[in-house]
Amino acid sequence: MIWIVARKVWLTSITDLWFVVGSVLCIVTAVALALMFRVQWQLDVDTYGKMQALSEKQADLDSVTIVRRPEPLAFLRKADEALPRYLIVLPDFTDFPTEDVGSRSFLEKVESLDWASIIVYPFAFLVLVLGAVAISGEKERRTLPLLLSTGLSRAALVIGSYVGIMLALIYVLLMAFLLHLLIVNPTLSSAEWMRVIVAFALSMLFLSVVAWLALWTSTLSHHAQVSLLIGFLAWFLISVVVPQGASLLSQQLAPVPSMREYHAQLSSAEKAFSARTTVSLELLLPILIGPGRNWSEAEKQRYLQQAQEKLFKEHEAALADYKAAVYKIRQHYLSRLTQQMETTRSLMRLSPAGCYWQAMEGIAGTGYWRMLRFYQTAEQYREAYSEFARKWRAALRSHARISGAAVSEGKYRLQGVSSISYRGVDFPRELLPKFQERVSARSDWNGLFLNLSLLIGFNALFFALALAGSLRYDPR
């Protein structure tokens, strides 16, 4: 009986003009997207090449910049418009770039268009229309009592409608996906092709949630248009309101320090550092007007040398403490940013669209998850770089550029230290550790299982609701 209902729904759908129009639109959108991605991919690869070359040229004993490789599976889910393309690795700290104004595109605010967006918006709408009229349409045409009089169970009706919808959908989805892949034409390893297949399956799973949702709303009303409206509003809530609301709420639940607070902390550390690195004329007084004024020149120079070494030692210690304080402030700030993002992602999981997007990010190796993994890999690299930098800094100390306040009187001078830089100092570049991202690290399987479970849960929930809704129907 399920198969009879399924075949009926399937035949009705594929012969419906609006289904054909909707399918064509979805396929055209997928094709247009694929064409745009091809061009974008080329730009991304070029930019990556340039940044990589620049990074190698600029690497020194102060810092190294490591660049994030563009993901060939980004056509599945981009989600990284605003994320930095590189990290700055220092011997003691790995940092996100502190962007200057205008470095980040104004268009970052606009969400990316990718395969996942096509699934959540036009394809989901198509499924919604099919599902909303499946049962309420039968009620409207008064054919549902006839169907039920044949001994068809309510469960068979609901499941049969679902199967019919999914059968109608799978052809369109497969066609759009294959065309998309054909045009994008990515060069992928076998593991990456597996991920593409998983992505397709995930897309079907998400659309399955929408199908159950639509069937549920179809059972709530006797009019197809009312069912469609309710279904659309529900879909609107889960794909637009919940993600945007999650972002708004997380800013209140997990606020990041305000810029004022952040700059105040930095200024406080800076003041403490300045206080410890002042160079006062008092240090020269002993040889100018004090007991040392009658010393020989050699003795005065010896005094100066000792005073200079002591000053260097104290100031370098102050500089190390200052850097540690700044790193701590920065680390705290970054951890608050990630905490806010985690809160947003957790709230977004209240919506099947949020689960689907996050799962796709994990599969495609893009987005926030990728950025975190990149950061972790950078931290691992930093250990090797730190050892290398320390060794060569010690060897090339005399070439370092030391700047700081100084006092002088006549031929006597004492130099303080406010920064020590090794920029421009020659060192054996061929020995510099090379950064390499592990390919296997670029999939979030743990996150996928969580989001997959949630999507299955949503399927079960809306299936139960649809079944319950169908049981409420009174043919009299």
Binding site: W18, L25, T29, M36, Q40, L43, T47, K50, M51, L54, Q58, D62, A79, E81, A82, L83, I88, P97, T98, E99, D100, V101, G102, S103, R104, S105, F106, L107, K109, V110, E111, S112, L113, S117, Y121, P122, F125, Q225, L228, L229, L233, V240, V241, G245, S247, S258, M259, R260, L266, E270, K323, V326, L337, T338, Q340, M348, S403, S418, S419, R423
Partner: protein, 442 residues
């Protein structure tokens, strides 16, 4: 005589529609949540602005200035009060600048930074919320205006009276607009009250701008209402009209801005990331727009090169934003968003207005520096013990002047014309559709 009757009828049908009531409740909640988020953000930006002004003022204290190369003037743009309604470019292109004349190109800095992890899920502003919600509510209200009447059998009754067809269209349009006025007025006064309660008061010009934002909301709603009426008289059934309208909504409201942004990114790429930053402790000191200087107070060569590179990237981003603005005219939603930002003074035009003031200040400062250095050439990079503070007479100092209402409207001409165009187009289509409409067809 029939017009008022028809308007009244449709008004009552709309207002007693449970879907309408539910949607409006959702709209009001969404607007409230948005304002609740943005007001503290505005407060924080205001505090940062006050701190910047104080800092720049202190840097011009004559008692601390001994060399002309140390002199720098700040021009700070305050956060716009109406940014609660339309965030626009926000702080993105800089709201705090430091001008050093002949020593460095003007440097712009962001005062407030978003969480870059929230890529693509930025919190919406009030205009963004209105775009999404009111267009959807307009669909709910208008999809069955004509074909629904035919299906229920009342259209024949109406047309059996000497009611001109165009009057029917106008009546449906007016009724839909009046339906929206109630929640919109509620939202407008509600947001004014909440802002007042939280200490934000608006000047007369700002109140006029706010009123204009809500007027443009009505123009935006009007476009969607006319689209709904047109499709309602062009289709056989209200279900078909609904499907069509929702399909158009999905593509026009959700997909078009993303597609437009992507096309713009491809046609006007920005060389982001090529200007890699050297990680330098001094840079962490330079967080409020002051360029990273060596302790001697002289701008280093790499600072100048970096400033040039930043200007190049900034100009590319501005070109990209300008190109996106051109794409706005193809969508009533983006046109309305552009208008909202223009009224809130958060659009690209307002930023360019600020940028021009920075340039003017830079030119004046350069002229002043040349004059002073001719007179005191030894005070450029050094000073001798016993020399007094610098002669700062005639130092150009500017206060930021926001664009006037007329300038904002001038900058928003394209989206305004676009919105009027879409209204006229859909009105014409609705008239033609209604003229060709056969009430007998089922």
């Amino acid at each position: 005589m029939y017009l008022s009757f028809l308007v009244n009828k449709r008004l009552q049908l709309n207002l007693y529609n449970s879907l309408w009531v539910g949607s409006v409740v959702l709209l009001v909640l969404a607007c409230g949540l948005t304002i609740w988020f943005w007001v503290p953000r505005y407060d924080q930006r205001l505090q940062l602005y006050d701190a910047d002004r104080l800092l720049h003022k202190r840097k011009l204290d004559p008692a601390t200035l001994y060399m002309y190369s140390w002199v720098e003037v700040g021009l700070d743009r305050p956060p716009e009060k109406l940014s609660l309604f339309a965030e626009g470019t926000g702080e993105r292109f800089g709201s705090c600048s430091v001008v050093k004349g002949i020593y460095m190109k003007p440097r712009l800095a962001q005062r407030d930074r978003e969480n870059f992890f929230l890529s693509g899920i930025w919190p919406p502003d009030l205009v963004g919320v209105l775009v999404i919600f009111v267009s959807l509510i307009a669909v709910v209200v208008t999809y069955n205006t004509i074909c629904g009447e035919r299906e229920s059998g009342t259209l024949s009754l109406i047309l059996s009276n000497p009611v001109p067809r165009y009057e029917l269209v106008i009546a449906e349009w007016l009724a839909a607009l009046i339906t929206f006025i109630i929640p919109l007025v509620f939202i407008l006064f509600g947001s004014l009250l909440v802002s007042r309660f939280l200490g934000i008061t608006y000047s007369v010009e700002e109140t006029i701008r706010l009123a204009l934002i809500f007027f443009f909301v009505l123009a935006f709603i009007s476009a969607w209402v006319l689209l709904g009426i047109w499709l309602s008289c062009s289709t056989r059934s209200s279900a078909t009209a609904l499907v069509l309208l929702l399909l158009i909504w999905v593509f026009w409201i959700l997909l078009y801005p993303r597609a437009a942004a992507w096309l713009v990114r491809l046609s006007e790429p920005v060389s982001t990331g090529v200007s890699l930053e050297p990680a330098d402790v001094e840079l962490w000191l330079a967080h409020i727009g002051s360029p990273a200087l060596s302790p001697a107070g002289v701008a280093r060569t790499e600072d100048k090169e970096r400033a040039l590179l930043q200007e190049q990237v900034l100009n590319e981003n501005l070109r990209q934003a300008a190109r996106f603005r051109q794409m706005q005219v193809f969508s009533p939603a983006l046109s309305f968003q552009g208008l909202g930002e223009a009224m809130a003074r958060t659009d690209l035009t307002a930023h360019m207005h600020y940028y021009r003031q920075i340039r003017a200040l830079d030119e004046n400062l350069r002229m002043w520096q040349h004059q002073k250095l001719q007179r005191y050439p030894d005070r450029e990079y050094g000073f001798r013990a016993g020399q007094g503070p610098l002669d700062l007479e005639g130092l150009p100092v500017m206060e930021y002047r926001p664009p006037t209402l007329l300038q904002s409207l001038k900058g928003a001409t394209a989206p305004l014309v676009a919105l009027i165009f879409w209204n006229l187009l859909f009105f014409l289509l609705a008239l033609v559709g209604m003229r060709n409409f056969d009430p007998r067809m089922g």
